[in-house]
Amino acid sequence: MFLDDAFRVKVGLAEMLKGGVIMDVTNAEQARIAEKAGAVAVMALERVPADIRREGGVARMAPIRKIREIMEAVSIPVMAKCRIGHFMEARILEALGVDYIDESEVLTPADEEHHVDKRAFKVPFVCGARNLGEALRRIAEGAAMIRTKGEAGSGNVVEAVRHMRAIQREIRQLTVMGKEELAAEAKRLGAPLELVEWVAEHGRLPVPNFSAGGIATPADAALVMQLGAEAVFVGSGIFKSEDPEARARAIVKAVTYYNDPQKLLEASEELGMGMPGLDVAHLPESQRLAVRGW
């Protein structure tokens, strides 16, 4: 499946985004600020996750007019979100011509059993995951990029760290297992054996592995890169801060120089207050976005 040209083209764009920052934006002006600051792509949204969380209600695909306005404003790739399982929102986004679709737990799920059959689309998909089993189920459905779910709109990196560590730990464990153990492990993970064997042999996911959900500072971005993320999504963290432009540039720099504390110090130096954060430990289950998706 990974040798198929159609799938390689989908993964190809994810390869080009590596070492970069994908920023949530809600209008053309924010999109231009993000591009100028060095974003590798933007995620076109009606509301950033922090506002979705505050305002509640049903969160759907962004209005088409808004996504189109953002597509026309910048030359970098534009992504948009569809609800989990809402393959018709996905079809509309594909017809619009967005560069990537995020089948996202940040929106209200449309189907509580099934995710979108992403192999049936020409446009590539990214999906969230909390652990290796979830990541491999999404890849089996056709996702060409995985990101940690973290806890979107929280400004708290703890869940993104938990998810990235879980995925990396489970990958490492597979690499030391015997062949007969892999079948049992595939059953435990709820993932296809073929994919489990691929990961065991290569020691990584078959698609790029990015991080999202709660990243608000250059230090947060560098932390998830250290833990094995290949690029970073920043949602509310930029445009909910005091200084979106400076923060966007600082996070871009932090992702490139995640191994260089001196550069990270420079990137963090001039920044004001980040977005207000939430203590995820005291967040009731009903308000957690990461538990959406199966």
Binding site: D5, R8, V9, G12, L13, E15, M16, L17, K18, G19, G20, E35, K36, A37, G38, A39, V40, A41, M71, S75, I76, P77, E94, G97, V98, D99, Y100, K122, V123, P124, R249, V252, K253, V255, T256, Y257, D260
Partner: protein
């Protein structure tokens, strides 16, 4: 073994690192001006050219790359080809001006127009690098709209040049680093070896 830098600010620099190893060179990741010292050549990978420009300018590396390119070979793929160009359109943006080519960004369209194709390279490429069709992975690719008189065209797709060379530099609008065929990287490394031999 030649030390070939890979600009590692953003993009698929790791894929280029592996490709260079397979082509018989030693890759060195470059994120700072000082890391250009002592390199025999440089690869500018695929990625987002606007992001690379931002970081190059912030690190004071833009001018350093221009100086490097006046003395040493550079291979640019996709975003790298855009950075090497003499002129960039759609929209216009600064570039190193190391090759006499005009490049239009995202010229095939958005991601839905990305594709993998097999090309029959020009005879000059076949003579230098070996016979046989060449796989080309195009991702939101640019098109080379004009080439100067000294630019050699190694391969075309739908009539437009997609792999070109001028003096010591090479540019591809596709991603040879994402294919198994190593002829493009090998040709670049051989040229670096020859250049170093005559210079040294």
């Amino acid at each position: 073994m030649r030390r070939v830098g890979v600009l590692a600010l953003q993009g698929d620099f790791e894929a280029h690192g592996k490709a260079l190893e397979q082509a018989g060179a030693r890759p060195v990741m470059v994120r700072r001006v000082t890391e250009l010292d002592g390199l025999d050549a440089l690869v500018i990978p695929g990625g987002e050219s606007t992001t690379m420009l931002r970081l190059l300018e912030d690190e004071g590396m833009f001018e350093a790359l221009r100086v490097f390119g006046r003395q040493r070979p550079i291979l640019g793929t996709c975003a790298g080809a855009i950075l090497l160009a003499g002129e960039v359109t759609n929209p216009p943006q600064p570039s190193l001006g190391l090759m006499d080519i005009v490049v239009e960004r995202n010229a095939y369209g958005r991601q839905l127009e990305s594709r993998v194709v097999r090309l029959e390279p020009e005879p000059e490429f076949a003579r230098a690098a070996g016979e046989g069709e060449l796989e080309a992975v195009f991702i939101r690719a640019p098109i080379i709209r004009r080439t100067g008189p000294n630019v050699r065209v190694y391969a075309r797709y739908l009539g437009d040049p997609v792999l070109v060379a001028e003096g010591r530099h090479m540019a591809a609008t596709f991603h040879p680093e994402l294919s198994a065929d190593r002829r493009v990287h090998r040709l670049f490394v051989e040229q670096v070896e020859r250049g170093a031999a005559t210079a040294g």
